[in-house]
Assembly symmetry: C2
Homo-oligomer: 292 residues x 2
């Protein structure tokens, strides 16, 4: 296992972590400068943050700072109640792939979607098996285009508490089954983004990480699980503040061949989003070196 104690060359910041500072939205170009000031070598930005500043400007800024991407957030949300909706999702994923390619991302992270309308509290259907079928078809279609472009897709299994509204792929095993179905040759074009927040509880985690192997492990995200957790989406903890065995799991991930960035992704409406971005980043670096 790599020794992170000496520095933070393998730290990446998912820009959602400091998208709010002192409770207010902060533009991505400012976030990139804050990362650059600390010698952070990689980020994973969100599409809406990129669009708000302009993708060409962001691409130039990243290049000027020598900052790379550990992923691009996000494609997915494939299920829809009708054919027009399914097609619109495919079109949007194609644009996401193009953006990821332009920015030099190693993968597009897929939050695959679930019951259409559920995110607005009004599920248009309840058949999660149907949603899973639409996800499979959507990934298959997107994978074809991704292969042409040369931009790998990373399915992110989301915590089961988000199965209704955000992603109906909810375990690493489930994601890997889908990878094996759609990419049996392990081409490197389809894999997973493993976010410890979503999978830490899984009794099959170690076994499935070993199964995934280097070809399927396209991204690794860290934060921590707080007790109590007060919100199903935005109450993630800073590494070390919760109950996740971070070093143990990183050992499994690296044992399977992963040698990429450890990407910090914290949604925190009660705590970190209220603080100064500089403070949050400094603590991310310190925790990366000590507990990740």
């Amino acid at each position: 296992m790599r020794d992170f104690s000496k520095g933070h060359e393998w730290l990446s910041i998912n820009t959602a972590t400091i998208r709010k500072q002192h409770g207010a939205e902060v533009p991505l170009d400012r976030i990139i400068d804050q990362c650059a000031e600390r010698g952070i070598r990689a980020i994973s930005p969100w599409r809406d943050q990129v669009a708000a500043v302009g993708i060409d400007k962001i691409a130039r800024q990243l290049k000027a700072h020598g900052i790379g991407l550990s992923g691009y957030c996000r494609g997915g949300f494939f299920p829809a109640p009708d054919a027009a909706g399914l097609q619109a999702a495919l079109d949007d994923n194609r644009r996401a792939i193009d953006e990821a390619k332009l920015l030099g991302a190693p993968c597009l992270v897929l939050v695959v979607g679930a019951l259409p309308g559920a995110l607005d509290g009004k599920a248009l259907y309840k058949d999660i098996g149907r949603a899973r079928g639409e996800v499979r078809d959507g990934i298959a279609a997107s994978l074809e285009y991704a292969g042409q472009v040369g931009l790998p897709l990373a399915i992110e299994p989301l915590h089961p508490m988000q199965a209704a509204d955000r992603a109906c792929i909810n375990t690493l095993e489930h994601a890997l089954d889908l990878c094996d179905e759609l990419d049996p040759s392990r081409s490197g074009m389809l894999g997973v983004a493993l976010d410890i927040y979503h999978v830490w509880w899984d009794p099959k985690l170690q076994q499935q990480i070993a199964r995934a192997g280097k070809e399927r492990l396209l991204a690794y995200h860290v934060c921590d699980w707080l007790t109590p957790t007060r919100d199903l989406l935005s109450d993630r903890g800073m590494m070390g503040d919760g109950v996740v065995e971070l070093k143990k799991v990183r050992g499994w991930v690296e044992g399977a061949g992963f040698a990429g960035f450890s990407e910090v992704e914290i949604f925190s409406v009660f705590d970190w989003w209220k603080r100064a971005g500089e403070e949050t980043l400094d603590i991310c670096i310190e925790r990366h070196r000590t507990v990740v």
Copy 2:
């Protein structure tokens, strides 16, 4: 599949569903009277509710009304930071088994516990593998006593969002693996309490229900998953108000041989616990006949 539309003979009320009425705690003897008034044939009471009134009084009241139990809540919480704590948990589970037997329960429901201290926000250790080992050992020891008494134990897999603080058995597959390890002969003394709230999201649900079979399916709990869900413990929905495919899953459960009660268990700090118990019960009956 049984036709529930004609009546509610297979409805059971988990007494947590109306433990609060108009926002205030209601004693179990009052709850039992409310159920009896509606011809409800079974309940599943909680130990603290029974103790508050007195177990002998409750036993007499149930007998007078001809009301049976569909389960007894609850044993479990096996993990502990030291040997004294582990022994105390075993002793407490022995008492729970005795109480369940005295009340004529068909099973004792086990919420197995997780990281000791996590429920109070201060996990005494983080090794969920250790907690799972302590759970295994605790069930093995309790099973020996349960077998002597003739009182089956029902492991309740809890939703992964409760893996840190309430139960580290989080999928039906995980629970059945443990059953097979500790009771390979499928004696009928060890099985599962399948609560749809905890398992509805699982892509392996249908397969694992079939695997469980009649000998392992000791209890079946219903409610619904709301979107949004505002609290990790107490924001369950009334059947029909959420996204769970209730009839589909009951079809799987009955297809596997289950022919017992459909037990309503709703923790609802924002809605049902604020209402009159009579209203909640009447709606439970109506939904049991129409959507369960």
